[in-house]
């Protein structure tokens, strides 16, 4: 380390501001709710030395985790600790599955919308491509919040969409504060993440491969499914992960466009923390969210590594 002075500052910074906070989240998630400041027990009392540390560990339990799944595990005695509120249903469990479902559907829609766009850009005249890619990137750099906000004016009950529908003599739609609005918003903000890797894969593809396929007897559509699609798959997979992973924990879109019945774990966590001030449960929710995310993240990492090796 002494010979690599440049390693010190970022390493220490990350340990202090990335690793330690997680240790704390994990610690709090094992604590019980208390009406105090900070609102959890046990706290680490270093003035008592080792005894304090031991007391803290003795106070840890997995109640918060059990409780998260109370609806599905059923028989656990949740009355032993008295939270401010009690749900009969498995709110958190449902929030996780609903987040996964929303992320999956968003990914599929984004792929259906993004693939043709990436394809069209890759097939556009060479001199137009930088412009088209720039047009994809501009929203990507613009404020996330504003892009979500833009849809409020369109989807709200007195919004532009219903105005247009009214002109056309069609019945009005109620979209805002529903999951439909969440899907639209999610696809909208995460679309560039889908388009860019697919475009990169398609752009790398040698155009003569398609001619070769046609020359050997493929129709254009057959050539697409046998050559273009398999060769763009790495980009498709990368794009899907890049949409799926952040959507799971997304907070802004469900809270601005979703309704009270839109269950997403990021929003639930935020509300748990601020509205209910239940830090232990919020921490437990966060820890489980991490475990949920680890699977796609690890898969994504392995995919990227494989791609890097293939390109060498």
């Amino acid at each position: 380390m002494i010979r690599k002075p440049y390693l010190f500052p970022p390493y220490i910074w990350l340990i202090l501001l990335f690793l330690t906070p997680f240790a704390i989240v994990f610690k709090v998630s094992l604590s019980d709710l208390a009406i105090a400041q900070p609102p959890y027990t046990p706290t680490l009392d270093l003035t008592e030395g080792w005894a304090g540390v031991r007391a803290m560990f003795e106070g840890f339990d997995f109640e918060n985790y059990v409780w998260l799944f109370s609806g599905s595990w059923g028989s656990w005695d949740v009355a032993s600790f008295v939270p401010i509120w009690v749900f009969d249903d498995a709110l958190y469990y449902n929030a996780y599955t609903s987040s996964l479902k929303i992320a999956a559907i968003t990914t599929i829609i984004a792929l259906a919308v993004g693939y043709p766009m990436a394809y069209a850009i890759a097939r556009a005249p060479r001199h137009l491509r930088p412009l088209l890619i720039m047009l994809i990137i501009i929203p990507f750099w613009s404020s996330f919040l504003i892009r979500v906000y833009a849809w409020i004016g369109i989807l709200s009950n007195e919004g532009f969409l219903n105005m247009v529908l009214g002109w056309l003599g069609l019945p009005e739609l109620r979209i805002i504060n529903t999951n439909t609005a969440v899907y639209i918003g999610m696809v909208y903000v995460y679309l560039p993440f889908m388009i860019l890797p697919i475009y990169a894969a398609l752009d790398r593809m040698d155009g003569s491969l398609l001619e070769a396929a046609q020359d050997l007897g493929c129709s254009k559509i057959e050539a697409f499914w046998r050559i273009t699609w398999p060769l763009s798959r790495p980009g498709v997979i990368a794009g899907c992960f890049l949409v799926f992973i952040p959507v799971i924990g997304e907070f802004i879109v469900p809270s601005l466009l979703g309704g009270s019945d839109t269950l997403m774990i990021g929003k639930t966590l935020y509300e748990e923390f601020y509205n209910n001030r239940d830090w232990p449960v919020a921490s437990a929710v966060a820890v489980i969210l991490l475990f949920v995310l680890i699977i796609p993240i690890v898969l994504f990492q392995r995919h990227q590594l494989k791609q890097q090796e293939a390109q060498l």
């Binding site: 690599k4 750099w141 004016g153 709200s156 919004g159 907070f251």
Partner: protein
């Protein structure tokens, strides 16, 4: 060829309409005299006037720019060091942990990052405000910077550094006189990326902020929860115009350089 081309044109037209129509509507209606969403009450720039007269927005903008500037700068210094360690550092103890800590924040949900940092700041009794936002933003931005810079470093011809060392430069001189000038564009785009991410962040800032430090996204969020606001339309128009100018300038600059 014609049939596929038509398909391509259609998907591009609809795709870009989807991407740009919402933004264009905001921009157009930011000049709307009327307060109502869909009613066009004539052209007016009054909401821009109202925006600039609103102390809360001006304060928030100032806090946001200050935070973004500081955190992007810290993130660029630390991120460049981290990238150098990852690409040039060879083997060192805890390398896996280090690279894990660099890449993890990229995929970490903001709610978790925000929550964990808040719990840390509470645990060590740090007063929350602009300073804690800077710490939080610098942490996740440095990861983005290090990804940008390390991708440049991996394509960088190592023999250039070796030539400098061979000609008698010290390690630091070789970095400062040879490596840094060559990776400078990547460092700059890393800074810009960090700056933009910090400007844009709502969730982490909401967690770690304290009284008195309200950033622009927080201001916007509390405003738009109640619905469409013409003042926010005006603000959005300004922000999007700035980004568009930035992106176009950057792409023209790179074009001139490469062409």
């Amino acid at each position: 060829m014609t049939r596929l081309s038509r398909f391509n044109v259609v998907s591009l037209t609809f795709g870009f309409a989807f991407l740009y129509l919402p933004i264009l509507l905001i921009m157009v209606y930011s000049f709307n005299e009327s307060r109502l969403v869909t009613v066009w009450g004539g052209f007016s720039a009054k909401w821009y006037g109202a925006l600039f007269a609103d102390e809360r927005f001006l304060n928030a903008a100032w806090v946001t720019l200050y935070v973004a500037f500081c955190s992007a700068t810290i993130a660029t210094v630390l991120g460049t060091m981290a990238a150098y360690a990852l690409v040039r550092g060879g083997r060192f103890r805890g390398r896996t942990l280090f690279s894990g800590m660099i890449y993890a924040p990229l995929v970490m949900p903001e709610v978790i990052t925000g929550l964990s940092l808040l719990l840390l700041f509470i645990a060590i009794g740090l007063d929350r405000g602009g300073f804690t936002i800077i710490l939080a933003h610098a942490t996740f931005c440095m990861c983005y910077v290090s990804v940008v810079v390390s991708s440049r470093l991996t394509t960088f011809d190592r023999s250039l550094e070796e030539a400098a060392l061979d000609l008698g430069a010290t390690g630091w001189q070789a970095f400062r006189l040879v490596t840094l000038p060559i990776i400078a564009p990547a460092v700059l785009s890393g800074w810009l990326l960090g700056f933009t991410l910090s400007l844009d962040d709502l969730v982490i800032a909401s967690f770690v902020t304290g009284p008195g430090a309200t950033t622009l996204p927080m201001r916007i969020f509390s405003e738009v929860r109640l619905g469409v606001s013409p003042k926010i339309n005006a603000l959005s128009t300004i922000l999007i115009a700035l980004v568009a100018i930035g992106v176009i300038t950057a792409s023209l600059a790179t074009k001139r350089k490469s062409g």
